[in-house]
């Protein structure tokens, strides 16, 4: 997903250039939808998330700044924020903890592998597999489920004060394994 020209397209789109906006939309629709689905596990909500993200991008409610990192990282963060707000609003995680089912890596074979970010995914996936089970789980609960610190403590049976340390350690290990996997980095 290397697109050095995102910044230019974004600037044009922010100035209401519709064709630039459409190019950006086409470029990111699939990634944003797939990520929103990964977070919400619900196609309809994922669609709403995509719509919200792009409408706010178009009308300037959310604005990208270079200090925030790459455009793609920023867009994905905006997507995650909206998705976990939606999850929380619908209180889905209250009645579906499903730790067993929601492993960090989804069941293989469910979706074809012919993807734009397939390579990145494979290296991250391999890196994830090197993590201990409880590290995979805490990343899932923290990043993908967006649970509060207290809920993570409850589900992982950890003292509240140790949650942050555990998460950071798991994420750092993961980053290290990703680097070993052949250095995917996204801008």
């Amino acid at each position: 997903m290397k697109h050095t020209d995102d910044g230019t397209l974004y600037a044009l789109a922010a100035a209401k250039d519709r064709s630039a906006f459409e190019l950006l939309y086409d470029r990111y629709e699939k990634l944003i939808f797939s990520f929103a689905y990964r977070l919400t596990q619900d196609r309809e909500i994922a669609e709403e998330v995509v719509q919200d993200v792009f409408v706010k991008l178009w009308n300037g409610t959310t604005t990208y700044k270079e200090e925030k990192g790459s455009f793609s990282s920023w867009l994905l963060t905006v997507t995650r924020n909206k998705a976990i707000d939606e999850i929380r609003r619908l209180k889905r995680h209250d009645h579906e903890p499903m730790i067993e089912k929601d492993s960090l890596i989804e069941q293989p074979g469910s979706v074809e592998n012919t993807v734009e970010w397939g390579e990145q995914r494979n290296s991250i996936r391999n890196a994830v597999l090197e993590l201990k089970q409880e590290q995979q789980e805490i990343i899932e609960l923290f990043y993908f489920k967006g649970l509060s610190q207290q809920k993570i403590a409850d589900q992982c049976k950890l003292p509240l004060g140790t949650v942050k340390g555990r998460i950071r350690l798991a994420l750092k290990h993961l980053k290290g394994f990703i680097a070993q996997e052949g250095g995917f980095s996204n801008d």
Binding site: K2, T8, K16, K30, F33, F54, G60, T61
Partner: protein, 251 residues
């Protein structure tokens, strides 16, 4: 470490109450360790979205999104009002444009300055290809612009062509990214085309990242051209292209 610092994860995961959120945002401004940790969290999690499996996008989604956009109330920049009353509301501060991460001084300064000042300019919001557009805060005018379409073999390439008037001089600025790699003796040549007749409009060597831009004085371009194209050539400014077309579009 203050009482507030414990809220960092819940801030990241948006589970703070509104009151807590305001307090924490305030705290974040004055707590270097929280802002450093937040930055670290962002960095450590930036690869995670790519764990998502590719999901078939519903075929109706794009239409829905664009319908929603069309339903939006008219843009904050309104033709009937003078620009000055709107500039404050426009959500694009000047800084936004610098997302052009270019390594080294490869973009001509003029081009970079023009792009920056044009693209950040709120008034472009009213831009309409049929009408010259006034640009506030400078005498720059954007007379026309086009996104060039990649041709087969250069599928990821993107380029913008803009005709820009600065006081008395008008230039054609072409700015391209994700260009295919060139051999040592090759360069990229910009052309403007009037029906069948091409004329060269500047050439450039791309950066290692495949970026490049060039400006060309408009008064050197003759005729009623309406197409801009970029080709790969071995010599600059030939009378007509010999190499293959990488990008092209109508302006």
């Amino acid at each position: 470490m203050t009482e507030q610092c414990v809220h960092l994860l819940d801030y990241f995961n948006r589970s703070l109450t509104e009151e807590e959120l305001l307090a924490f945002e305030h705290h974040l401004e004055e707590c270097p360790s929280c802002s450093a940790e937040l930055e670290e969290l962002n960095l450590l999690t930036e690869d995670l979205p790519y764990l998502a499996d590719e999901i078939e996008v519903p075929s109706t989604l794009k239409a829905k999104v664009f319908a929603a956009i069309d339903e939006q109330p008219a843009s904050v920049v309104n033709d009937s009002k003078p620009f000055s009353t709107n500039v404050e509301e426009f959500p694009q501060p000047k800084k936004v444009i610098q997302p052009r991460k270019r390594k080294g001084p490869l973009v001509p300064v003029l081009a970079a300055a023009l792009v920056a000042s044009l693209m950040t300019n709120a008034y472009l919001a009213t831009m309409d290809d049929s009408a010259p557009t006034e640009v506030a805060e400078s005498d720059l005018q954007l007379i026309g612009k086009a996104l060039l379409d990649p041709q087969p073999g250069a599928d990821n390439a993107t380029a913008v062509a803009m005709m820009i008037k600065d006081n008395n001089e008008t230039v054609l600025l072409v700015d391209a990214s994700n260009l295919p790699k060139l051999k040592d003796n090759e360069l990229y040549q910009v052309w403007v085309i009037d029906k069948e007749t091409p004329q060269p409009a500047g050439s450039f060597k791309p950066t290692v990242d495949g970026n490049g831009s060039v400006t060309h004085p408009m008064d050197q371009l003759k005729g009623d051209w309406d197409t801009v194209a970029i080709t790969i050539e071995t010599e600059p400014n030939l009378p007509s292209p010999k190499g293959s077309i990488v990008l092209a579009g109508n302006i």
